[in-house]
């Protein structure tokens, strides 16, 4: 069981972000990072906005993070979402990738428990094309340990 139906639109990798999605298929969260000044950036861009170097590497991160913002969707913006309502969409600030945020879902939390500052950790959920999508779990974390971003 995935958090949202598997019939949702799939990621469509482009030449600029293929390595990100290739890593996801291997269940590794790898964020683009400048090979020269070591700054993380997301989504992938052709050159480093800090030092303009075109050389990048893809660094695996812990997948731990904090909910930076969220919404609860109560309206189906796609026919396959009709039976999935309500669901959350979260912007997760990663612990170890500068200020990089990942849009995702927190798969195991009630809508009324969603909060900015919630600690989350990475989980992988399968896509219908054999790939994987990074999502997050809020389990085993309590609001008492929150550090507000």
């Amino acid at each position: 069981m995935t958090y949202l139906p598997q019939d949702l639109p799939l990621p469509e990798p482009s030449p600029d972000d293929q390595p990100y999605w290739d890593a996801c298929d291997q269940r590794e969260l790898r964020i683009q990072r400048c090979a020269k000044c070591t700054r993380f950036r997301h989504p992938p861009t052709p050159i480093c906005p800090s030092c303009r170097s075109p050389k990048a590497c893809w660094t695996q991160v812990s997948g731990n993070g904090t909910v930076f913002s969220y919404t609860i969707a109560h309206f189906a913006t796609h026919p396959v979402l009709k039976d999935a309502l309500p669901y959350n969409v979260a912007v997760v600030l990663l612990d170890d990738a500068d200020d990089v945020r990942i849009i995702s879902n927190v798969i195991d939390i009630a809508p009324e428990k969603m909060a900015i500052g919630l600690r989350v950790s990475l989980v992988w959920q399968p896509l219908r094309n054999g790939g994987y999508l990074p999502r997050f779990s809020g389990r085993d974390h309590s609001l008492a340990t929150v550090t507000t971003p």
């Binding site: 949702l8 639109p9 469509e12 997301h42 989504p43 919404t71 913006t77 796609h78 969409v89």
Partner: protein, 397 residues
């Protein structure tokens, strides 16, 4: 040679001399004409309003999403010559005031004589903006997670504003109700004759928390256009011209497509509408400050955007827009400090991706609004709330 501070500045050189519209309806409400026909109709109406033959129009400007391109509009209307064709690249509604700025640049630069800025949008004949649409840029990072509509996307930025400033969600209701009260005076408004109170707002169904149904703009059918020319030429037109005293378009560093993309804009700007840069350039060109505005038309695709824009444009200090709104300061009926969206806005008049706000600003300057601010001499128009760069105008009598 001593050059002025801003070389060949566009400041106070051009004017809007004609406004034209079709009727506005809910999505699917116009079935007897195509969107392209409505586009032509609005342009003809604007020429008539300006008191010029439509054949005088030789410049064409619009912004992202407009389907009817200048050469085809020229053919459709049988116009003798097209000398300027311009489309704001990207930014969705953020390009709306930019299209008027480009029209002003063209006539000021002598490229053409009468430039029309126009927008036609029939969500009943084409796709709905509130539903999933493929987004070539950034879509991979949103759609697989069910993040698909602008309402959901800007709910994320506004949620952050609530978190940082303890913004009371009740302020949203005050915005929706105030703009509806303005629409009740405007027979063109889609929500004309449909009163709304705070309780109806706070009990309406949730769409994308914290945005409820009445926090979201309409999905509409309609078209609108404005004619721009030099102030010199404007002396011959029918109505008192609305001088374009300032126009600007800008994007802050690292914003990109912002909430319609991956949400990685700089953390210090996340809870904004990315309008601080455009505000700075706009007021500099106008040689005035936000406290000198008599009224404003603020891009209200979602109520939360209005609070963030009031702060971005320096009308309120950061975090204080909710208080300003809840004191009734946007209300024409309650003689607020800055009556806003006096025709009902995108929430209650129509959603032409911001363009109907420009027409209402012109009416305020002419003195013909259905919620006319007494002696209105200046009016701000802002464009855009989420995606890409932003643009704005200051019109004056």
């Amino acid at each position: 040679m001593k050059l002025p501070k801003t070389i060949a500045s566009l400041a106070d050189k051009t004017a809007i001399v004609g406004i034209g519209t079709t009727e506005y309806t809910r999505r699917g409400g116009i079935t007897d004409r195509t969107e392209f026909q409505l586009c032509c109709e609005a342009i003809e109406d604007a020429a008539k309003d300006a008191g010029i033959p439509v054949t005088e129009i030789d410049g064409f400007c619009s912004y992202t999403g407009e389907r009817h391109e200048p050469v085809l509009v020229q053919v459709a209307l049988g116009l003798p010559e097209m000398r300027y064709s311009n489309m704001v690249w990207g930014a969705g509604g953020g390009g709306c005031s930019g299209s008027v700025m480009n029209a002003a640049l063209a006539v000021h630069g002598g490229i053409c004589k009468y430039a029309v800025a126009y927008r036609s949008l029939c969500q009943g004949q084409y796709e709905r903006y509130g539903q999933y649409r493929p987004r070539p840029m950034g879509g991979s990072y949103m759609a697989p997670y069910g993040l698909m509509s602008p309402g959901q996307m800007t709910a994320l930025t506004f949620r952050r504003h609530m978190h940082l400033y303890d913004t009371p969600v009740e302020a949203l209701g005050h915005i929706a109700v105030t703009f509806r009260e303005h629409a009740l005076r405007n027979p063109r408004a889609i929500q004309y004759g449909k009163p709304l109170d705070l309780k109806q707002h706070s009990t309406s169904r949730m769409i994308a928390d914290p945005f409820r149904l009445f926090d979201c703009c309409l999905e509409s059918d309609g078209a609108a256009a404005v004619i721009v020319t030099t102030q010199e030429r404007a002396r011959d037109t029918r109505f008192h011209p609305a001088r374009i005293v300032a126009a600007a378009q800008a994007s802050g560093p690292g914003w990109g497509i912002g909430p319609m993309g991956s949400h990685n804009m700089p953390i210090k700007d996340y809870h904004t509408t990315n309008s601080r840069a455009v505000s700075g350039h706009l007021f500099e060109m106008a040689g005035m400050g936000p406290n000198e505005l008599d009224c404003a038309q603020i891009y209200d695709a979602f109520t939360g955007l209005v609070l963030m824009a009031l702060e971005d444009y320096g009308i309120c200090p950061p975090g204080e827009a909710a208080k300003f709104v809840m004191e009734g300061n946007l209300s024409w009926q309650r003689a607020g400090k800055l009556p806003c969206n006096t025709a009902g806005g995108l929430l209650s008049e129509a959603y032409l991706q911001g363009f109907n706000l420009i027409l209402e600003a012109v009416r305020q300057i002419r003195g013909t609004s259905t919620a006319q601010v007494t002696d209105a001499r200046t009016c701000l128009v802002t464009s855009g709330g989420g995606q890409g760069h932003k643009s704005a105008l200051i019109l004056a009598s």
